[in-house]
Amino acid sequence: MLPNFAYVRPSTLVDAVKELAKPGAAAHAGGTDLIGCLRDGVFDTKSVVSLTALKELHGVSATPDGGLRIGALTTLAEIARHPEIAKLYPALAQGAASAASPQLRNQGTLGGNICQRPRCWYFRGDFDCARKNGEFCYAENGENRYHAIFGGETCHIVHPSDTAPALVALEAVATVAGPNGKRKVPLGKFFVLPAVDHKRENVLAKGEILTEVVLPKAPEGARGGYRKMRVRGVWDFALAGLAYSVVVKGGKVERARLVLSGVAPIPWRVAEAEKVLTGKALDAATVKAAVEAAVAGAKPLAENAYKIDLVRAVVEEVLTAIPK
């Protein structure tokens, strides 16, 4: 049940940062993740700091160098139906459209989708797991069908976001505001593996918030998308997925970005597979090599080896469908 908490709704970014720096403060944007966390008592909350009055966090606009700036409070529904995003950054549009359910997409924001807490049922449930204050990861020897096959060490969560893999693939840059002003963090460096710190999922320090995401100019001729596999047709997180952005020129792959969802504690970029592809024609042998590179190093737990098959399948499916 919901705990007692104070609610504040600052009207400036400076005030918001100040409020968020206080002990027990939690940021509220769309609330679709926060309210569940409060209800389940996932973390102690003394105050809920609503960001919804911060006008500068809203909206989508063009950047001078041909890219796009998306405010953190832009809803997933707005992103999914934004014509320019759909045209130039289809991986992001498809990621946003595949998240959650229509109601949740109307309410949930891009910033929230990137910063949401993991869905691991031990983390969310009545278990004192390592990511909370406990000693160990229950998933290690427990019910781990939905857990990580890459990058899990002290904690085996998977990152739940459907938009973050696309943003990593698109080489987006996040703007972070905090007590010491603003800083820029590429999405590829925004997320934190359990080996670094198993109590948080990203680089945001106390009092910091993600204010916007800036997409660089889309490379000419890039093919992109997001393919998500799940148990249910909608309102479900990824069993595994692939966000991609690939440029083929003169019959050869000029540039490839492949980022997996649902398989690791962070959006999982498969750089080895990208390397295999770069400079090659997208023939069957290259695709096969990329598939193998994508799953190399996977360390499945007792119940999630199937994710290796899903990764193989999705990489093959996506690469095969790209016009040579």
Binding site: W121, Y138, E143, L239, Y306
Partner: protein, 764 residues
Amino acid sequence: MVELYWLQGAVPETTKPSPEMPPWKETAVVGKRVPRVDGYDRVSGSAVYPRDILLPDMLHAAILRCPHAHAKVKKIDVSAAEKMPGVRAILTAQSPGADIPWFPRRDKPSTSIFDQHLRCEGDEVAAVAADTLLQAQDALKAIKVQYEELPFVLSVEEALKEGAPVLHEGGNRVAPPAVYERGDLKKGLSEADAVVERTYTTACEIHVPMEVHGSVAKWDGNRLTVWDSTQGVFAVHETVAEALKIPMANVRVIGHYMGGGFGSKLECGKYTIIAALLAKVTARPVKLFLTREETFTMTGNRPPNKMSVRLGAKKDGTLTAIEFLSTGTGGAYPASATTSFMATDLYLCPNVKSSDENVFTNAGRARPFRAPGFPQCAWALEQAMDELAARLGMDPVELRLKNIPKTSQRRGNQPYTSTGLADCLREGAKAFGWNEARARKKPDGPVKKGFGVAASLWGYAGGPPSTVIVKLFSDGSVNLNMGAADIGTGTKTFMSMIVSEELGVPLEKIQIEHADTGTTQYTAPSGGSKTVPSDGPAARAAAWEVKKKLLALAAEEMKLPVEELMLSGAEIVSTKDSTKKLAVKAVKGLERQQVLVGVGTRGPNPEGKIVTPFAVHFAEVEVDERTGEVRVTRLVAAQDSGRPMNRLTYDCQVFGGLVMGIGLARTEERVLDRQTGKMVNANWHDYKIPTALDVPVDQKVVAVDPGDTECNATGAKGIGEPATIATAAAIANAVADAVGVRVVDSPITPIRMSQLFRERQKKG
């Protein structure tokens, strides 16, 4: 007999039914598509559900539940909680009057309402009533409990191991395995040209009705009124009176509206008794509704089952042997986990053996779950039939048609009053385009189409007792008084249609009083597809009696023999001379009396015969052979439930049944943590009920009406359960048809399919 334990013993002597009513021929109202009479109230918010009840001075209550799979309460300290703001009462096992045996209406093993031996996560430890719900919930957190954690068992295999932790005195077997045999199984198997053998499992499914379970309790002196979200006010009535040791006459249970029930609301919950106790000690009305999280662990499930099936048949498809061995667990307290019935009765077969084993485990207790045991049985039996057809090189529809019984072999070989099984197979196949579909050339590409069929029967079709009262007022309007709850199935609508059919009164002139033990008459809870075949005939009998009284009055006034008169709409007309007529409102006898009352009771079922609904479902699926993603793209349900009462809600029932079947087949599964015994997916995200995108747009219902004139006075056999029994099996068979992989364990997820594809690859 099929094990419907919530109905057992609920068939006492009833008064004689009204004189013979001839079966309906052409009907004017019954069988038409009629929107729900309370539809506007439901969608506009004016319908008051138990959860909506607000009474002056009402308190709110919450229950402290055991966080462990198996434990004992060592010490409990409520002193801090008692001092918290708004807290009015706290109940524990030590509270005076709280030592109430549970379940009051059943034999051993008997426990108590706050039992100190906690046998599963969620067992009740204490309860708080406070001014607000949040205060009550805060107080729960302040109650200090010292638990002694005990080792636990989660599966049948673990529970039966030597030295396993024991849940109840007498061991973990609920009862000795129930064995049924006819003929000679060995002989049957030796005579077979083909034998198939395989073990199947179904996952545990959780009840997730839209309205959570709960009650409001209010005392007036020594009289108690309970508003309950229930499928059966009379079941709650009996239990409340017995648990609190007060006369039934002092208890009134009201359940006018309720937000869905699929078997979990057939019985009285502990929460009702706790609400009544708290209301008593505080002298205030108390509202106690469970949270959604509580309902996941504590209000019931379809038990998990493991079923080993062996079928033998001759080359021509004639079955020679059926063996069906089932184990399951109804959880920590007595609850059925039986599945074998349908396997012993659906097909003609002389040599049959079945066995059902049920054990206790440290998990939430099962409840009847839409056709208890039958969808699990279909999952195993109907997949085995499919495999047998393939082995014999026969079409699966043909194999089933080859083995249609005319009698219920399991129930003393008594003939069915009607069986539409063969017609369901034929007409369903036609509507589905079965022959064309199965004859197709498989399309290229990694996404494969497949087509499957599965048949079913349901083991119950209503019976006494049920009493319904119909009153005709002097202005020609009617009051329909019935005990049945409308659990969302359209009960109020079809019952009104039956009255309208008999009396010619339009639906808008019929008002309904129902589901109130203070003002309506006994009927068994709405479950097991019994409401139409049990309460419908009683409604017809009541209307029939009113009509008889009205015609008798009219005959006197018209000076015509009563046999010559008929009721036609708002008039009484002579069948010999249509110019001789009298408006109902002009009948002086009615005006003098102001009201004509008809009391209708449900008569016994036909002697020496068995009433049974049948159904056959057809499924089309697409399976992505690379990812294991499965989509159900088309469903056809051919149902023999006798005469449809309201074709609109009949279809709606079937669509709902198909969706639940998709849940069993594709998405639903309780997951218990092997390390702690706690349920890890006790929420609406991780426990996956099907969404709109998991349900095909293309669903068709074929109503096969065999014209049953013997089953009861309505010709209807019940549609609720037979709408869901065969669905999952048909989907599994379609998956096997698509990719040649037999999925023995539900649900069919990409996880499962990937594993099966991997195994297939290994085998080469």
